[in-house]
């Protein structure tokens, strides 16, 4: 039986972010938290593998007090159990520390065949945790996966690279990161949402994993100095004309003079 650990992160709902026009800073306080979209597709991939091959799906997240609520969706979609690393001492740490914590958690869960995650989480966009975890665990990594299949303990996948689609094979265990093209994540039924609350969930702090949050904090080495919306540098020319035809003609001339169409 295949045991799949899926890494999930809850992030602020990116569709709700607004920019404060005076400070150009994003307003993220109080926004609803959801599972990062590509992570959810990694979970969907795990569920489809389980439907085909049988198995067990363990959802693993590193987060905060708010994570449990967001992760109910993972259980409702089809994860069998959920582990959350929740330690306020680890808030805001970088990918280096995150992957060390996840390594410890993955080892505590144990007995896995496959670790699935998204190519990147959509808040930090750092695209590092999958490969870092593979390195720390000494496992092969299969990144940017848009198709996945399991056969006799072997994983067959199609990787989506810039120039080629690469068909690859690897023996398990391995770390696999998926791209958004892999699937559409299912929307759980009401019944499954009710059932989700009864599925086993466990929270660990750093010490439960044999780690010291205080020590790990000092290792975190990428600090965010400031976050600001970019200034938009566009021409902002509003076409002024008496009639629609005249406006369209002026716009067509402008487009052609920019040399961006083959006139």
């Amino acid at each position: 039986m295949t045991k799949i650990i899926v890494l999930l992160k809850d992030i602020v709902d990116l569709n709700e972010i607004k920019i404060d026009p005076s400070t150009r800073q994003p307003r993220t306080k109080g926004l609803k938290r959801r599972i990062s979209d590509v992570d959810k597709r990694a979970l969907e991939a795990a569920i489809r593998l389980k439907e085909k091959n049988d198995g067990e799906i363990v959802a693993l997240s590193m987060g905060s007090d708010k994570t449990r609520t967001a992760m109910l969706e993972a259980l409702a979609m089809g994860a069998d159990s959920l582990y959350i690393v929740n330690d306020s001492g680890l808030a805001g740490v970088d990918a280096l520390v995150t992957s060390k914590v996840l390594k410890a958690a993955v080892e505590k869960i144990g007995g896995y065949d496959l670790i699935l995650c998204g190519e990147m989480t959509l808040d930090s966009l750092s695209a590092q945790v999958g490969p870092r975890l593979a390195e720390l665990l000494g496992l092969p990594q299969v990144t940017y996966v848009k198709q996945i299949d399991l056969e006799d303990g072997k994983l067959r996948a199609v990787r989506d690279l810039e120039d080629v689609d690469e068909v690859v094979e690897v023996e398990l265990p391995a770390v696999v990161s998926v791209v958004r093209e892999i699937n559409e994540a299912r929307i759980p039924s009401l019944m499954n949402i009710m059932r989700a609350k009864k599925k086993p969930t466990e929270e660990w702090d750093a010490s439960a994993l044999g780690l010291s949050a205080e020590e790990l904090r000092t290792e975190s080495s990428i600090e965010v100095v400031k976050v600001k919306a970019p200034l938009v540098e566009r021409k902002r020319i509003v076409i002024d004309a008496e009639t629609v035809e005249e406006a369209a003609a002026k716009l067509a001339d402008a487009i052609i003079s920019e040399g961006v169409v083959e006139a």
Binding site: N15, Q25, A95, L122, R132, E169, R234, V244, L251, E258
Partner: protein
């Protein structure tokens, strides 16, 4: 042990040369030596790295390194740099480069700033990076506090320096080459002719200004005239289901030469998906819509009359 060093690596030669120009700037500030690491099979013209700014070219040339394999290349990078007093390691942010960088960073037990579009060093010699976060809506200014400092740099971020005759040293390294557990069974070239939204040179796009799915025909006619792909904003796909995929923070990020937004309000989420467009054109009947603020040219008007008129005007001008 050598002195302080900045190392640049990309499996994409052009990107490696582009990074050397920024690498030169940073090395000069740090008083460090700039090395280009080159890995492959049958490497030609290593002098080119020197004329583009490198003090040293570190070459690992081996028949086993003909094609990129992340586990193998990871070992090569680590072995090639084991005796270097590494200050900064810059890796090209192709997909292959990013997975390599993350794995190397983990092995070096250090941080890494992904896809920086600007980098610098401060007085303490720490690497500063600017990169997009929150799905691309904001710029995050970050600092790496731990040596070796690492960052990945996307293609075309920095301009290649003009080649100039310079002195430099080329050294060929013997490194231990390990195999890779993931086997490539087949490599399929991607079809160029059938560019998707992500690669299309011209994209026209629909927003909530469209009242009915059938009305998208107006946009399709414009697309046909321009040889463009048709896209949409999030509500059109996610809420109305008129199309499969959308452009924006949680959808496609595109970089066409021309983007025409029709009936799109221009939220920051949508803006994050079209930031890389060369020219943005918009048609929206609300003068206060944000899309006008992020456009090069816009018409405040009704898409139902403007789009057909624009299609006609373009047809006349494009023969």
């Amino acid at each position: 042990m050598t002195g302080r060093t900045v190392v640049v690596y990309s499996e994409d030669r052009e990107l490696g040369l582009q990074m050397l120009s920024k690498g030169r700037e940073i090395s000069d500030k740090l008083g460090a030596e700039l090395s280009a690491l080159v890995i492959g099979d049958g490497i030609t013209d290593p002098e080119e790295y020197i004329t583009h700014g490198a003090d040293k070219v570190l070459i690992v040339d081996n028949p086993k390194l003909g094609s990129f394999a992340v586990e193998t290349y990871r070992g090569v990078v680590l072995d090639a740099l084991k005796d270097v007093d590494l200050d900064v390691l810059l890796i090209g942010a192709t997909k292959r480069g990013k997975e390599l960088a993350a794995r190397v960073a983990a092995a070096l037990d250090t941080g890494c700033m992904t896809e920086c579009f600007e980098i610098d060093v401060d007085e303490e010699g720490r690497l500063l990076g600017e990169r997009l976060t929150y799905g691309g809506t904001v710029i995050s200014s970050q600092v790496s506090t731990r040596k070796p400092h690492m960052a990945t740099i996307p293609p075309r971020t920095f301009k290649k320096a003009d080649p100039s005759p310079r002195e430099g040293e080329i050294s060929v390294l013997e490194v231990d080459i390990q195999g890779q557990r993931m086997k490539v069974v087949e490599s399929r070239e991607k079809a160029r002719g059938d560019a998707g939204l992500a690669e299309a040179p011209i994209v026209v796009s629909a927003g909530r200004g469209f009242k009915d799915k059938a009305d998208l025909k107006l946009l399709e006619e414009l697309a046909e005239t321009l040889g463009a792909k048709v896209g949409c904003s999030r509500p059109i796909a996610a809420d109305l289901g008129w199309m499969e995929e959308w452009i924006g923070i949680s959808g496609y990020k595109i970089s066409p030469k021309l983007y025409i937004a029709c009936g799109i309000s221009g939220t920051i989420q949508h803006a994050a998906g079209i930031r890389e467009a060369q020219i943005i054109v918009s048609v929206n009947n609300e003068a206060g819509a944000n899309i006008h603020e992020i456009s090069d040219y816009s018409i405040v008007g009704d898409i139902y009359t403007v789009i057909p008129a624009l299609t006609k005007a373009l047809k006349e001008r494009m023969k």
